[in-house]
């Protein structure tokens, strides 16, 4: 027997769980399917949890401002701790090149409502205790950005969605979409999983690293290719570091493009770097190179980190688009299908805002942010226009 819902969300991760929450909060009968055994077990749990509206793309700025609103009021709204910490984001700058980039995007950031300012080296030293002052020019600090625990976020969205009646089915993979109409003008009205068929008027693809294959089932060719990144966490120490820090210089070791870290509410320092040489593919097994390189970068920026203890490392995937911008909205030629994909490693910070907008789009016919700005994330855009997100 086919089961009928108002909306089906494919993927119970960073995007899928908030989408399910906002849809069910709006009164829809929602089903979430995920191939893994529980929510957040894909790339969500690999995220380090930074949430910033400090972007250059207006849509990302606005959507992340909404994420920040959702996260910062979550405790009040639901009584659940999601590890929210309003510690801001700091981009310290050591070279003119980065100073120029960051200063150039300040106007657009401010225009779209982000609270952010340029600080001199003295100011940055206060924001980031123990930062190496050698060559420090200054940097930006956006005090309203923050951090969450991605694990608790997907867990909490799941629980709250369930309270509104959403159903979560795990260990079920989607094998095809139930469609009718011709190739150019499909209507998607359900899914067939490894277990059974489900029907709904709205199908949301929030399948993260595997989103591309779901799109293909509807004949859509959305270029999303995962590459892999490693991250780690230390044993906890007393709280001393407020912001999440992004050092966007390439590392002296020649391997790292940038690196970032922050201190969680529990005291652990969580960290990650972007390799210069992108590692495409879905390999999530840890490498021997990561920690030695990471350790050097960490103490070069903050020497007192030498006394930390490394607890664990892991690897996750960034579902990348060619222009580094997420794909959110209704694609042409696949009626009934909605996309919240290609988060480029920012699913955890964008997910709440994306879910909010998708729910708005499905239930009210329009996104929660201005349509023009929202359209910057359009699935129908030219992914190879050459325009790129500056703070990818």
């Amino acid at each position: 027997m086919t089961m009928k819902y108002d909306a089906i969300v494919i993927g119970a991760g960073s995007v899928g769980t908030p989408t399910a929450y906002f849809l069910s909060e709006a009164g829809l009968k929602v089903l979430v399917v995920d191939e893994l055994a529980s929510s957040g077990q894909g790339q969500n749990k690999a995220a380090i949890g930074g949430v910033r509206a400090t972007h250059s793309d207006p849509a990302k700025i606005q959507i992340c401002l909404q994420s920040l609103d959702i996260f910062s009021s979550w405790m009040e709204k639901t009584g659940t701790d999601i590890g929210w910490k309003k510690g801001g984001y700091c981009f310290p700058v050591f070279r003119e090149k980065e100073e120029k980039i960051l200063k150039s995007i300040l106007p657009i950031q401010k225009k779209h409502g982000l609270k952010i300012d340029w600080f001199d080296s003295e100011g940055i030293s206060k924001v980031v205790p123990g930062i190496s002052k050698k060559g420090l020019i200054g940097g930006t600090f956006s005090p309203n950005d923050g951090q969450v625990s991605p694990l608790l976020v997907s867990e909490s969205f799941t629980n709250e969605a369930m309270k509104f009646g959403a159903e979560f089915r795990y260990r079920e993979s989607v094998i095809r979409l139930l469609t009718h109409g011709d190739k150019e003008n499909l209507t998607v009205r359900g899914i067939k999983t490894t277990k059974r068929e489900y029907r709904a008027d709205a199908i949301v693809n929030a399948a993260g690293a595997h989103a591309s294959s779901i799109c293909k089932m509807a004949g859509l060719d959305i270029p999303i290719n995962p590459d892999s990144h490693e991250a780690g966490i230390t044993a906890p120490v007393k709280s001393f570091l407020d912001p999440l820090v992004v050092d966007i210089r390439p590392g002296t070791e020649g391997e790292t493009a940038n690196f970032y870290f922050g201190q969680q509410t529990g005291g652990q320092i969580i960290f990650c770097y972007t390799p210069i040489k992108i590692i495409p593919g879905e390999d999530r097994r840890s490498t021997s190179e990561f920690m030695p390189i990471m350790a050097k970068r960490m103490v070069e920026l903050i020497p007192r980190f030498k006394n930390l203890t490394i607890r664990r490392i892991w690897r996750g995937l960034y579902p990348m688009t060619p222009d580094g911008i997420a794909v959110v909205g209704k694609p042409r030629g696949a009626e009934g299908l909605y996309l919240g994909i290609g988060m480029c490693g920012q699913g955890s910070m964008m997910g709440a805002g994306v879910g909010y907008n998708l729910a708005h789009l499905i239930t009210k016919g329009s996104p929660a942010i201005e349509r023009d700005v929202f359209n910057l994330l359009s699935p129908d855009r030219d992914f190879y226009s050459g325009k790129k997100e500056a703070l990818k």
Binding site: L36, A37, S38, S39, G40, Q41, K45, P129, G130, S132, K134, L151, L152, S154, E155, N159, Y170, T234, A235, P236, V237, K238, F240, G266, G267, D283, R285, S286, T287, S288, E289, M291, P292, M294, A295, K296, M298, V299, E300, P303, R304, F305, K306, N307, L308, T309, I310, R311, R312, I313, W314
Partner: protein
């Protein structure tokens, strides 16, 4: 104060002339042995509480004493360290860790060094215990280059903690020798092989997808690229969940043996043990040898699972063994002060009205072992050519680990293309060593009309034969085809007592029937391994039979300890004629009486800590499973932080699986925890300096 150190020991050499260093704990000046672990130095000074947990202020102390659990964290010279693996040094400033540590505001730039060195080897052996060393020696015979990594300061693994004589056969696994001596023999042999490189103080912390293995070698991180990986990392102790199981004073027998047998520290004067397998029974014996009284042993099953000879020897000394009993709860303000033990029914449920209290400050947990196999799983996932031997493969006796190490070495050689054959006797031996002890049978009928003869009370089939090789006249024989058979005495006896000195089970006595025919007394020689002064020549003692029941009284007429007896004393007792064949031992303590208590608080799940690192209770986990219906341990981890702490789920994972089972979920359906490096925490500093000197 008087230092809590072991001052005399029947087996171990107690050197009282060691070098002292002075250190401070929370500002108070204390003395320690130079280079001993901080935790042992604190125990020697009577300090058992090392800090308070940041989540709930609960007292923290020793739990594993093995570098695995992080419950013994404290601050040494302003940096948080695991006190059980950090040596104390002159002038060290040690402080309790109350809450989270403060990151030292030391902003001096550090030299970051070059690339982490990658060292190639043919076989990397993780763990220098009985299995690892036996395998290494076999590989060295063929000239294979191996690196043996061990996290301790010396090779030997758990052999270094075993003061008792081993079972098995002399030829195959040094039976009749003590674990500590076997450890030394093997490590000397390993040191003498020039294709074997020994890395002590070098925990292996991760296996990576690129086939490299991360090792913290003497505090510096290096990578090893082995052609093959052999994991002989041994076992870790299972645990029990009950209210108070997390109190300082409740810890594993392994931790206890480390304190007493390695560090000669006396953590308590009296203790209780839960678990009547070989580990618990041997632990009790080791306690008594360290002048620590054992108030009792509780075993959940109707019969102890350990060898009968191990059980009997502690019963003879007067230790009560409570079968079909368990620990209901442990109580105390900041440290264990008492345990409440009760009888359980055939469904392991407590029987009301049987609760008894024992006032003790130390409770040892000995409820089985589980293989240390997380590196194996990761290595296999990453496609490394991986092997495992010893307890890391299957839990068994150390004798079996040695055989298993040799067998696995042969397998490695075969895979490497060497034309070797796995000796068929090894296959046979491994089967024998893995088998459970046989049923208890009647002992051999008494030798008639002999004046001098051994009484061999080897009633259970276990793999052991040293007595047959010790007999000068070769009159002790095993008639069955394997060493599982029981030895029998036939013919004449010279009265040399070699069989008594060597029997690992202390199951042989020598009877000299007509010692004093006027008094109608016989002389019985019994093996004796208790501290000097426990009994004295001329003393009137209570004699017991093999199982510890009182036979009568005897007089100690001689006590002999010589080199060939392997530190074991032979005690001659003068006993009446009719008791001579029965006497098997001497009682040194009156069996404790159970004190039944009337009012007992029922056990609530919210009193039971499951995840020690993150202080998560059984109730929280059970409720979460019930409310969400999850079948994923990773979901429990994400929501409650179980397994996210310092130990990475080493202690709690099995307990969590048990809660899933108790919640009515088939464990086959449960998604298991995803393992990631590192298997133990690594100081960030270790990654910085690796490249400098290579």
């Amino acid at each position: 104060m008087v230092e809590a150190r072991i001052k005399k020991h029947p087996i171990l050499t107690v050197d009282v002339t060691y070098d002292y260093v002075t250190f401070t704990f929370n500002g108070k000046k204390l003395k320690a042995k130079n280079e001993e672990m901080i935790s042992s130095a604190l125990f020697a000074n009577g300090i058992h509480i090392f800090g308070r947990h940041n989540k709930d202020d609960s007292p923290q102390g020793i739990y594993c004493a093995n570098g695995q659990c992080s419950q013994c964290l404290l601050i040494a010279d302003r940096i948080p360290v695991k006190s059980c693996v950090t040596p104390v040094t002159e002038g060290m400033d040690v402080r309790s860790l109350d809450g989270l540590p403060t990151l030292l505001e030391d902003d001096e730039a550090v030299k970051t060094g070059g690339k982490t060195p990658v060292i190639k080897t043919q076989v990397l052996i993780i763990g220098g215990g009985p299995a690892g060393m036996s395998a290494a020696l076999e590989l060295a015979k063929m000239g294979i280059y191996c690196i043996i990594c061990d996290d301790k300061q010396v090779l030997g693994g758990k052999l270094s903690l075993q003061t008792h004589n081993f079972f098995g056969s002399i030829r195959d696994c040094y039976a009749g020798s003590r674990g500590i001596d076997i450890g030394e023999t093997l490590s000397t042999n390993v040191e003498n092989e020039n294709t074997l490189e020994i890395w002590t103080n070098s925990p292996v912390v991760g296996v990576f997808s690129d086939g490299l293995v991360g090792v913290v070698r003497d505090g510096k991180y290096v990578l090893v690229k082995p052609e093959r990986l052999l994991i002989t990392a041994g076992a870790r102790e299972k645990t029990l969940a009950f209210p108070g199981c997390d109190l300082p004073g409740v810890y594993g027998v392994g931790a206890f043996q480390t304190l007493v047998n390695r560090d000669l520290v006396k953590p308590t004067d009296r203790l209780f043990i839960v678990g009547g397998g070989n580990v618990g029974l041997i632990g009790a014996y080791h306690a008594l040898q360290s002048s620590i009284d054992v108030i009792g042993i509780a075993e959940a099953l109707p019969e102890c699972g350990g060898y009968k000879v191990h059980l009997d020897k502690i019963k003879r000394l007067g230790v009560p063994v409570y079968t079909s009993h368990t620990v209901l709860r442990a109580e105390g303000k900041d440290h264990l002060e008492r345990v409440i033990v009760c009888e359980i029914d055939d469904k392991f449920s407590p029987i009301k009205g049987t609760e008894a209290v024992f006032e003790i400050d130390t409770l040892l947990i000995a409820v089985g072992l589980t293989p240390v196999d997380e590196l194996k799983k990761q290595a296999e996932e990453f496609g490394l050519k991986t092997y495992a031997a010893g307890d890391a493969y299957i839990i068994a006796e150390a004798s079996a680990a040695m055989i298993s190490g040799r067998m696995t070495a042969h397998r490695i050689l075969l895979d490497m293309g060497y034309e070797v054959e796995i000796p068929p006797e090894l296959e046979e031996l491994i089967k024998i060593f893995m088998s459970r002890p046989g049923p208890v049978k009647d002992i051999t009928p008494l030798p008639k009309d002999k004046e001098i003869y051994p009484m061999i009370r080897c009633a259970q089939e276990i793999p052991c034969n040293p007595c047959t090789e010790a007999c000068v006249l070769q009159n002790v024989k095993i008639k069955e085809s394997t060493i599982m058979g029981r030895p029998q005495f036939e013919g004449d006896c010279l009265g040399c007592a070699r069989c008594i000195a060597i029997c690992p089970g202390l199951a042989i006595t020598l009877v000299d029937k007509g010692y004093d025919n006027t008094k109608k007394t016989s002389r019985v020689i019994v093996p004796w391994e208790m501290p000097d002064g426990t009994i004295k020549i001329g003393q009137d003692v209570v004699t017991t039979n093999m199982e510890g029941e009182v036979v009568g009284r005897g007089k100690v007429i001689a006590m002999k300890k010589s080199k060939w007896q392997n530190e074991r004393a032979l005690v001659s007792l003068e006993v009446p004629y009719k008791e001579a064949d029965l006497v098997a031992g001497i009682r040194i303590r009156e069996p404790t009486r159970k004190k039944i208590i009337k009012v007992v608080k029922t056990v609530d799940d919210d009193e039971i800590i499951i995840c020690r690192c993150e202080r998560v209770t059984k109730k929280e986990i059970a409720d979460y499973i019930k409310e969400t219906g999850t079948i994923d341990v990773n979901a429990v981890k994400a929501a409650l932080r179980v397994g996210m702490g310092a130990c990475g789920g080493k202690t709690c994972t099995e307990l969590i699986m048990q809660i899933f089972r108790e919640s009515g979920i088939d464990l086959k359906d449960v998604e298991s925890l995803v393992d990631r490096p590192f298997t133990q925490e690594v100081p960030l500093r270790a990654f910085l300096e690796g490249g400098d000197n290579r």
